[in-house]
Amino acid sequence: MKVWIDQSRCLNSRQCEETAPRVFSIADDGLAYVRQNDRLLDQPGGETCQANVPDEDQDAVDTAAYECPGQCIHVIEQP
């Protein structure tokens, strides 16, 4: 599973960070970013920054994507 965030729709609710803190972070600019291997993928963020989601975080990422107030978390299921 991969995941990315459409920041043009982020409402800065911080819900994704609460729900799946290993995969999402709110940076100092108030926007949500994805993380991979403990590193923020913020160059530049958005569709070009897709993080691999570890198996143990996949349920939390699905929940975060479903509940996201901006509906801006995009999950890519891989076969």
Partner: protein, 402 residues
């Protein structure tokens, strides 16, 4: 004691007695601890389920089994006489689709990115308001001069409404919240919709960088939203934004004036402002009003049988002081690291204006005490009066000196 309580002691009736301006009525905390999902009577005497724990408010606020509409609107239980928040809203059959479409089209106009680009304009507005305020004879009324103006100015700027009309919109918005006179609210709503309709035409002819233009362009591109939907969105945004933000601005300032230690922390480190804003949102007793929902099906929740059409009143304020989630919940503490308050709701119902209210309060509290370091309350606390006939609460006046 209210009439309903005297006839039936077992069912609590809202509003509960308040012990002080800054406190949530103690009955809410009692129920949260002993009876977290309880049958109550609303301020107009209709039955409802009152939900007070953080976990339950968070779960139910965006639960797909609940909605804002009702299958039988005229006979639906009501929370209050207020036109907008008092009873069911929207079409029962299409509510979920309508809500999704509305958010889909509105979110880019309200995103955190968009609000950040508005920040310089908000800073200029705050600076102008404070400059004018400083020239007034003391004491002056912070509520009238700043709290009632700033949110109206900022939201109007975002929507794209000219300066001259802003005061009128503030008056309509306050009118729609009237809980004691239904006719005042209905008239205010109709006049506001008419005003917005004229504006849609104007933006069509002269597009600008604002929300109404965004929606008009979207309509030209995709055929959606139609004019009447734009009227509904824009009026809802004005109503939901204006009065609630006035309350937060009043209470935020009062909280700092009443908690000098927290004010000193902010003055020493303005970088604490974003956390302070979250704490104001959590703690401000902006009102004891509940977020209301109607059950869309029969279901059981934690042992309580809820029937289709039942009214459910969620109390974000009581959830915000739930000791299961917040350490020392009754303390105003601007250094809280995690602050998952329910003031802006949750999930697919999360407040679309959240980035806006955050930027607005952040700019205000980074600026206010730097500009007016001697700012102080000019009357004893017990002389302040809350706006009881307005659903969103707030103060009738906040006299200050500096």
């Amino acid at each position: 004691m209210s009439a309903a309580e005297s006839t039936d002691e077992s069912i609590p009736r809202l509003p509960f007695d308040q012990s002080g301006l800054m406190e949530l009525p103690p009955r809410f905390a009692e129920l949260r601890e002993n009876d977290p999902i309880v049958k109550i009577l609303t301020p107009v005497g209709d039955p409802a389920w009152l939900v007070t724990r953080h976990e339950d408010v968070k779960k139910l606020i965006s639960d797909a089994r609940l909605g804002r509409s009702h299958f039988d609107p005229p006979n639906a239980p009501r929370y209050s006489a207020a036109v907008i928040l008092g009873g069911p809203r929207g079409e029962y059959e299409t509510e979920v689709v309508d809500h999704t479409k509305a958010r889909q089209v509105l979110i880019p106009s309200f995103s955190a990115q968009r609000m950040r680009s508005l920040r310089p304009r908000i800073q200029r507005t705050v600076d102008d308001l404070l400059s004018r305020f400083q020239e007034l004879p003391q004491p002056a009324d912070f509520h009238q001069e700043i709290a009632k103006r700033l949110p109206v100015f900022v939201i109007s700027e975002l929507l794209g409404i000219p300066f001259a009309d802003r005061e009128q919109l503030g008056t309509w918005s306050q009118g729609t919240f009237h809980t004691s006179d239904q006719q005042v609210a209905v008239t205010a709503m109709l006049e506001m919709r008419e005003y917005i309709a004229k504006f849609i035409e104007l933006k069509r002819a002269e597009p600008a960088d604002d929300v109404i233009t965004d929606l008009v362009l979207k309509q030209q591109e995709t055929g959606f939203p139609p004019d009447d939907a734009i009227q509904t969105y824009v009026s809802t945004l004005i109503i939901a934004g204006f009065e609630t933000s006035v309350s937060f601005t009043d209470y935020g300032t009062l909280l700092f004036l009443r908690n000098p230690d927290q004010r000193a922390l902010l003055e020493a480190d303005p970088g604490l402002a974003p956390r302070a804003v979250e704490e104001i949102l959590r703690f401000a007793p902006a009102s004891d009003a509940c977020i209301t929902r109607y059950a869309r099906e029969d279901f059981e929740y934690k042992g309580t049988r809820i029937s289709e059409g039942d009214l459910i009143a969620l109390s974000p304020q009581t959830a915000n002081r739930d000791p299961r989630v917040f350490r020392e919940p009754e303390r105003f503490d601007i250094t809280r690291n995690e602050n998952p308050h329910m003031t802006l709701a949750y999930g697919l119902h999360y407040c679309i204006g959240a980035p806006l209210v955050r930027v607005m309060l952040d700019v205000l509290y980074q600026t206010l005490f730097a500009r007016l370091p001697e700012l102080r309350l000019a009357v004893p606390l017990d002389e302040l009066v809350s706006r009881n006939n307005v659903l969103t609460g707030g103060l009738t006046s906040l006299p200050v000196a500096w």
